[in-house]
Amino acid sequence: MYSLTRLYAQKICRQKLIYIFFACFFTASFFYAFLISTPQMEEMLNINIGIVGRKNFPEFMMRFYVGTVGILFNVFLLTLFICEEDRNKMLYQPLLHGESRSRMIWSKIYVAVSMSMIFVLLTAFINYITAYMRWGYEIFDQTALIRTVMKYLLSAIYMSVITLGIIALCIYTRNAWKTIFFVIIYLLIDQFIYSSNIVFLQKIWFGYYFNLWTFTYEYQKIPLSELLIGIPIMVVYGIIFSQISLCRIQKIDF
């Protein structure tokens, strides 16, 4: 399985989409950092959002990435990685060379989850670079730094679960556009649940905890109880998604 995982990692690293996306993200981050630094914009954004500026910049950009842009990027990347390979009759090729279906899907999962976590860390790196270029050492204020790093790590867990969900969708639908459609529906439902007052649904919805963690403002601490509940719930979702992928792949007639 190691060989196949390595091959898939090489394959995904060859995707030009990744480099184009992060070049665009860096540019956006750079311009955003310099744009919001103008007194008028800073004032406007502070009034409207109340969280942007200086040491909070990497945290603000993280929400921008993990909340929507990163998920959509992951969907496009994974549909290329799974659905397009399936359409081009390449997905089953390892099965003709001694690999089993479960080993094949586990390799895909390892690579995709690792990539999604690396992308979150890469986002953090890009945001800190642009923030440093704009504000210098000010952004490394200890309290803000610890909180932001913690949020990035929690976001990496969330992105892993989202990635497992997207893989399950790709395997189940075997269609790129259906997968993208369902992920957009997920994003809408996620926002609805977070902003609703349906407590029971919120408690079992993994996206709720991500929103709870990342929308905790500078002056708020992430409640430990929410962490203790949220992480296991995300893990449970991750296990369910990976089991769906595993069960489904066994039944596919290529």
């Binding site: 091959l7 390892p94 003709l96 060379h97």
Partner: protein
């Protein structure tokens, strides 16, 4: 010779879309194949050829039946059984951005026992040694077919399965490909299952034939035996079309296969060629053209599948 593959009572049904009905794709297909033999899997579109091949390679589940590859049951140890099989199914597909060598190396990494240099040897064997560094997206279909064969040969499988490998190849490319398959079968004792529509070529190089129609096996056996047991075909052009037709229709021992104007195709069943000519002369039919040919696999295929046999022009 050892038995390389044994397939027994294979069955597969698909659920029809938007209904609760099932459609049988393959029904009760069985065959055995010995080492070094080449089996031609024939059938019209939708006859169940690809489904059969995909069941053998475990890409498609089977509803019933047993597949044993090199004495290993596919059900009990699919990994080991399939390690003896190489396959090129569907349209040849590759990573378009990679070169021919990189594509083969990519899959070679999945094997533990591929010696250094074997990738280049394989590419050389299929006649792509001068194209190794060319990106696959620039390959013609014929080159992709050859590359697919090289990929199927990785790991030196005992059984190679090729699904319509001659599709899209020019006549010379087809001959070269079939020659390559025959050489491999003779030199390396590799066994082949080849599905194809190229009946004329299949007749020449396949040792065994299996014809499927609507998922069922309608004829199977050794190619030589099948063709020797069959009758001959006569193509003729006769004057007095109406009279000729009534004579030919009423004549015992022959059957009229097709007619287009005054061109007739006749199957000789219980009558020799000389007697047939004598009958035509005795009935005062004026013969403008007469030729006998051996019953070809194509004739047999069309007869069995209910197709229309071609007329002479």
């Amino acid at each position: 010779m050892e038995k390389i593959i044994s397939v027994q009572n294979l069955r597969k049904a698909y659920k029809k879309s938007n209904t609760f009905d099932f459609e049988t794709a393959v029904e009760n297909v069985s065959f055995d194949l010995m080492s070094g033999n080449i089996m031609g899997l024939l059938g019209t579109n939708g006859a169940g050829k690809t489904t059969t091949l995909k069941m053998i390679t475990n890409l498609c589940s089977k509803d019933k039946g047993k597949i044993v590859i090199d004495n290993i049951s596919l059900d009990s140890d699919p990994g080991l059984a399939l390690s003896k099989v190489g396959a090129a199914l569907d349209t040849p597909s590759f990573y378009q951005e990679l070169t021919a060598r990189e594509n083969i190396e990519y899959f070679a990494h999945l094997y533990n026992n591929i010696p250094d240099g074997q990738v280049m040897e394989l590419l050389d064997y299929v006649g792509l040694s001068s194209q190794t560094e060319k990106k696959v997206k620039k390959f013609s279909l014929g080159m992709k077919q050859r590359l697919a064969l090289a990929r199927a040969m990785l790991g030196q499988p005992k059984l190679i399965i090729l699904d319509e490998p001659a599709n899209g190849l020019d006549p010379q490319g087809q001959i070269n490909l079939y020659r390559l398959i025959c050489d491999m079968a003779k030199e390396k004792h590799t066994t082949f299952i080849v599905s194809s529509h190229q009946l004329h070529d299949m007749e020449k190089f396949c040792t065994d034939i299996l014809i499927l129609d609507k998922g069922k096996s309608i004829l199977q056996g050794k190619t030589e035996e099948i063709l020797s047991e069959t009758t001959n075909i006569v193509d003729c052009i006769l004057e007095e079309t109406k009279a000729a037709r009534s004579v030919l229709s009423g004549c015992q021992g022959i059957s009229l296969v097709s007619q287009k104007g005054n061109q007739f195709t006749i199957r000789l069943e219980n009558i020799c060629f000389n007697d047939f000519v004598k009958k035509l002369v005795a009935n005062h039919l004026h013969i403008r053209y007469l030729s006998m040919r051996k019953y070809s696999l194509q004739d047999l295929f069309l007869k069995l599948t209910g197709g229309v046999e071609p007329c002479i022009h």
